[in-house]
C-alpha cells in the first residue's frame, strides 16, 4: 500500500434545501484498502457514496485523490434488463472507452462467474446474478477505487460468500474498495477500516477493533465482545 490517498473527502457537506444531509465529512482511502461505511438507516451512507461517485454534487467541501477512475456500483443494479449480460458489458465497455472491449468482457465474465450466463437477458437473471453484472460493469474500466452501495443486500449466504471473495481479491490486487452495509458483521469480518456515519456526521474512522475499544474502554484487543452490540452501544453513546 502506498501512502498517497486514492480517494479523499475533505469537509464534504451536502444540503437538500434547508436539510443538511452530510456534515463536513472528511476521510482518505489508500490503495488496496477495504473500507466499510456503516450506520443506521437515514445515516446518509448512500448520499456520501453518491457524492464520492460524482452522481451528486457536494454543497461544500471537496472530493479528490490521486487515483485514476472511480468505479461505482449502486444498490439497485444499473444495467439494461432487456440486454444480455455480454451485451451489457460490451455496451458499458464501449461507453467507458475501454481499449480491448472483447477481451475485457471475457475477463469480467470469468471474474464474476457469469460466462455461462453471458447470453441471457439480465431481466431474467436472479437478484444475485444481476448484482454480479452490476459489479462487473462497475469494474470494467479497472478503476483505482470501487464504491459499492449495499452490495450484499439482495444476495443469499452462498452468493454473499462469493461476492466477498471477489471483493477481497480486488483489494488484494490494489483496488481500493469502499462499501456501505447494514450488516455490521460483514464490516467486522471483511473491512480493514470502518467509517461510522450517523445523521450525516462521521463519528468514527478506524479499524473494527478501534470501535470495540471505544465502547469497552479497554486499550487491548476486545476479544469476545459482540461487534453489533458494540456498534449499537457506540451509536447510543454518541447521540447522548
Amino acid at each position: 500500500m502506498s501512502d498517497a490517498p486514492i480517494l479523499s473527502a475533505s469537509g464534504v457537506t451536502k444540503r437538500f434545501g434547508a436539510r443538511v444531509a452530510l456534515h463536513e465529512v472528511s476521510f482518505e482511502v489508500r490503495s488496496g484498502e477495504l473500507v466499510a461505511l456503516i450506520g443506521p438507516n437515514g445515516a446518509c451512507k448512500t448520499t456520501l457514496l453518491s457524492v464520492l461517485a460524482g452522481v451528486q454534487a457536494a454543497s461544500a467541501g471537496s472530493v479528490g485523490g490521486q487515483g485514476g477512475k472511480v468505479g461505482w456500483v449502486p444498490q439497485q443494479p444499473a444495467v439494461y434488463t432487456k440486454l444480455t449480460v455480454a451485451e451489457n458489458l460490451a455496451l458499458w465497455a464501449h461507453l467507458e472507452r475501454v481499449a480491448d472491449t472483447q477481451d475485457t468482457v471475457r475477463r469480467m465474465l470469468e471474474q464474476t462467474g457469469l460466462t455461462k450466463r453471458a447470453d441471457e437477458q439480465v431481466g431474467r437473471l436472479s437478484g444475485g446474478n444481476r448484482q454480479r453484472v452490476n459489479i462487473a460493469v462497475g469494474m470494467l474500466s479497472r478503476p483505482a477505487a470501487l464504491l459499492l452501495d449495499e452490495p450484499s443486500a439482495a444476495l443469499d449466504p452462498i452468493q454473499r460468500g462469493r461476492l466477498w471473495e471477489f471483493v477481497r481479491g480486488l483489494s488484494a490486487n490494489g483496488t481500493s474498495v469502499v462499501f456501505s452495509t447494514h450488516n455490521v458483521a460483514e464490516a467486522e469480518r471483511y473491512a480493514g477500516r470502518v467509517l461510522v456515519l450517523d445523521e450525516g456526521r462521521l463519528l468514527l474512522d478506524g479499524s473494527p477493533q478501534t470501535l470495540l475499544r471505544e465502547v469497552t474502554g479497554r486499550s487491548e484487543a476486545a476479544d469476545g465482545v459482540d461487534f453489533e452490540e458494540a456498534f449499537v452501544a457506540f451509536l447510543r453513546r454518541s447521540r447522548v
Binding site: 457524492v51 464520492l52 439494461y80
Partner: protein, 462 residues
C-alpha cells in the same frame, strides 16, 4: 467525437431493445395508425343517412292544383326520401313501433290532406316527426329532416313560381288562357294594349273621349312595366338568399387530403412522443441514468461531457434521434401508402420530408421532456398519451365552433404544443395550404429548443 461515438452506441442499444420489444413496437405502430385512420375517415366522410320510417297517408298519385296546373305530391316525397334511408311503413302506429324499437331513428308522417292543404294556398301543410335515441342521434335526425323539408319546400315554391310567372307572361303578352285552365278565347296582352288604344284614340272624334282613352293607355303602360318587374320579385321571394363562396385566407385544401395530413400528423405525434418518453423513462427504470451521467468525484454529474459517459444534451439528442427516426419512417410510409389512394403532389416530396423532420424533432423533444419527468415507462407512456390526445383534438377545433374566449385559450395552448404547428407545416408541404411552411417550421424548431431545455432540466433529477 467521443460524445457522438457514445451516442451511436446508445442508439444501437435502443434499437436492440426495440427489436426485442415486439409487442411494444406493434402497439406503437398499429395503435396510432388505427387512431389516425379513424380520425381521418371521420373528418373526410359526412355522417351517414339516418334510418327514418316514412308513413305516407296521402292517396297514391295525389296532386296539388295551382292555377289550374297540377304538381305531383310524389316529387315532394322523393326529395324527402333522398336525404334519409327511408323505411316505408303503412300506419302511424307501425312507424312509432319502428322508432321505439330503435330500428328507425325517427319517423315522418305525411298526412292524407297534404295535397289539399298545399292546393288551398291559404294554410300550410304539416308533417309529423317522431324522434327517439340520445341527444346526438336526435340532433342528427332533426337536422337531416329539417334540411330535407327545406329542400322540398324550395322545390314546391319553384313550381308555384313557375306557374305564377307563366300567368304574368300571359297577362303581359296575351295568348291562350287554356294553359292556365281557363276556357276562353285568345287574350290580349297588357303590352299590346297601349298600341291598340293609340290607334283607337286617333280615330275618336271628340276631344273628351280622346282624353279619357289617353288616361286608360297611360294606366296600361304603367301596369305592363310594373307587372314585368313582379317576375323578378317572385324569383327573389322563392329563394331570398343564395350562397356564393369566397375563400378569404389561404389555399383551399380538399377534405380528403386534409384528412391525410391529420392522420399522418397524429401518427407522427404518437410514435415520436411515446418512443422518446419511453426511451428516457426506461433509462430511469433500469437505474442507468446516474451511471451514464455521473461526473468526476464530487461533481454531481456533468454540465457537459467532461467526466461523464454522456452529457445530458447528448442523451436528449440521442433519444430525440431515436424517436425522430422511427416516427419519420412510419409517417413517411403512411403518407406514401395513402398516396396510392388519394392524389398527392409527389413533386413536393422535399417539403414533406422537411415538415416531417421538423415535426418529429418537436414531438421528440416533448417526449423526452415527459420521459424526464416520469420515473417509469408506464407512467411516461400514460402521461404522454393523456397529454397528446386531448391537445391534438383541441388543435383541430375550428374558429367559431366554441365561444371566443374558449377559442383564445385553445389557441394559446396550441401555440405551446407542437401538434398544430406540425399539422400546418405538413398541410403546407402536402397541399400548399396557408400559412406558409416557413413560419410553421420556425415555430416547431422553437418548440424543439424549449422542450429540449425542459428535458435537460428534468434529467437533473437522476
Amino acid at each position: 467525437m467521443t460524445e457522438i461515438a457514445r451516442m451511436r452506441w446508445l442508439l444501437h442499444k435502443d434499437f436492440l431493445i426495440l427489436r426485442r420489444s415486439r409487442v411494444l413496437v406493434a402497439v406503437l405502430v398499429v395503435y396510432p395508425v388505427a387512431i389516425a385512420l379513424l380520425i381521418g375517415l371521420a373528418l373526410s366522410r359526412s355522417p351517414g343517412k339516418p334510418k327514418v320510417a316514412i308513413v305516407n297517408l296521402a292517396p297514391p298519385g295525389a296532386t296539388v292544383e295551382l292555377g289550374g296546373s297540377k304538381v305531383e305530391v310524389g316529387r315532394y316525397y322523393s326529395q324527402l326520401f333522398s336525404e334519409v334511408q327511408p323505411l316505408k311503413v303503412k300506419t302511424r302506429a307501425e312507424a312509432i313501433e319502428k322508432v321505439r324499437s330503435g330500428e328507425a331513428l325517427a319517423a315522418v308522417v305525411i298526412p292524407a290532406n297534404i295535397a289539399a292543404k298545399l292546393s288551398s294556398v291559404l294554410s300550410q301543410g304539416q308533417l309529423e316527426v317522431i324522434y327517439n335515441g340520445d341527444a346526438l342521434q336526435q340532433s342528427l335526425a332533426q337536422s337531416k329532416i329539417q334540411a330535407a323539408v327545406a329542400q322540398a319546400n324550395l322545390e314546391i315554391s319553384l313550381q308555384i313560381r313557375k306557374l305564377a310567372s307563366r300567368g304574368i307572361s300571359l297577362l303581359l303578352q296575351g295568348g291562350d288562357l287554356s294553359q292556365l285552365g281557363i276556357n276562353q278565347k285568345r287574350l290580349l296582352g297588357l303590352e299590346q294594349l297601349p298600341k291598340v288604344l293609340s290607334r283607337v284614340i286617333a280615330r275618336v272624334p271628340t276631344a273628351r273621349d280622346k282624353q279619357e282613352l289617353q288616361r286608360i293607355k297611360e294606366l296600361a303602360d304603367f301596369a305592363a312595366s310594373n307587372l314585368n318587374l313582379s317576375r323578378n320579385v317572385l324569383a327573389t321571394i322563392g329563394q331570398p338568399v343564395q350562397v356564393r363562396s369566397v375563400l378569404v385566407h389561404g389555399r383551399r385544401t380538399p377534405l380528403d387530403t386534409f384528412a391525410v395530413v391529420v392522420a399522418v400528423s397524429i401518427s407522427l405525434m404518437f410514435v415520436c412522443v411515446l418512443l422518446a418518453a419511453g426511451g428516457i423513462a426506461l433509462e430511469r427504470e433500469d437505474n442507468t441514468l446516474p451511471r451514464l451521467l455521473r461526473g468526476p468525484p464530487g461533481s454531481g454529474g456533468s454540465g457537459g461531457a467532461g467526466g461523464s459517459l454522456i452529457s445530458r444534451e447528448g442523451l436528449v439528442a440521442e433519444k430525440l434521434l431515436l424517436a425522430g427516426a422511427c416516427s419519420l419512417v412510419l409517417a413517411f410510409a403512411m403518407l406514401a401508402g395513402i398516396g396510392a389512394f388519394v392524389t398527392l403532389d409527389w413533386s413536393r416530396i422535399g417539403l414533406w420530408l422537411l415538415a416531417l423532420v421538423a415535426g418529429a424533432l418537436a414531438f421528440g423533444a416533448l417526449g423526452v421532456a415527459i420521459g424526464a419527468l416520469a420515473r417509469e415507462v408506464r407512467a411516461a407512456s400514460l402521461l404522454a398519451f393523456l397529454l397528446s390526445l386531448p391537445l391534438a383534438f383541441l388543435a383541430l377545433v375550428p374558429a367559431g365552433a366554441v365561444a371566443p374566449g374558449v377559442y383564445d385559450v385553445i389557441r394559446a395552448v396550441s401555440v405551446v404544443f407542437p401538434f398544430k404547428a406540425a399539422l400546418q407545416a405538413l398541410d403546407a408541404a402536402v397541399n400548399g395550404a396557408e400559412p406558409a411552411i416557413a413560419g410553421s417550421l420556425a415555430h416547431l424548431l422553437a418548440l424543439t429548443l424549449l422542450f429540449g431545455i425542459l428535458a435537460r432540466i428534468g434529467l437533473r433529477r437522476t
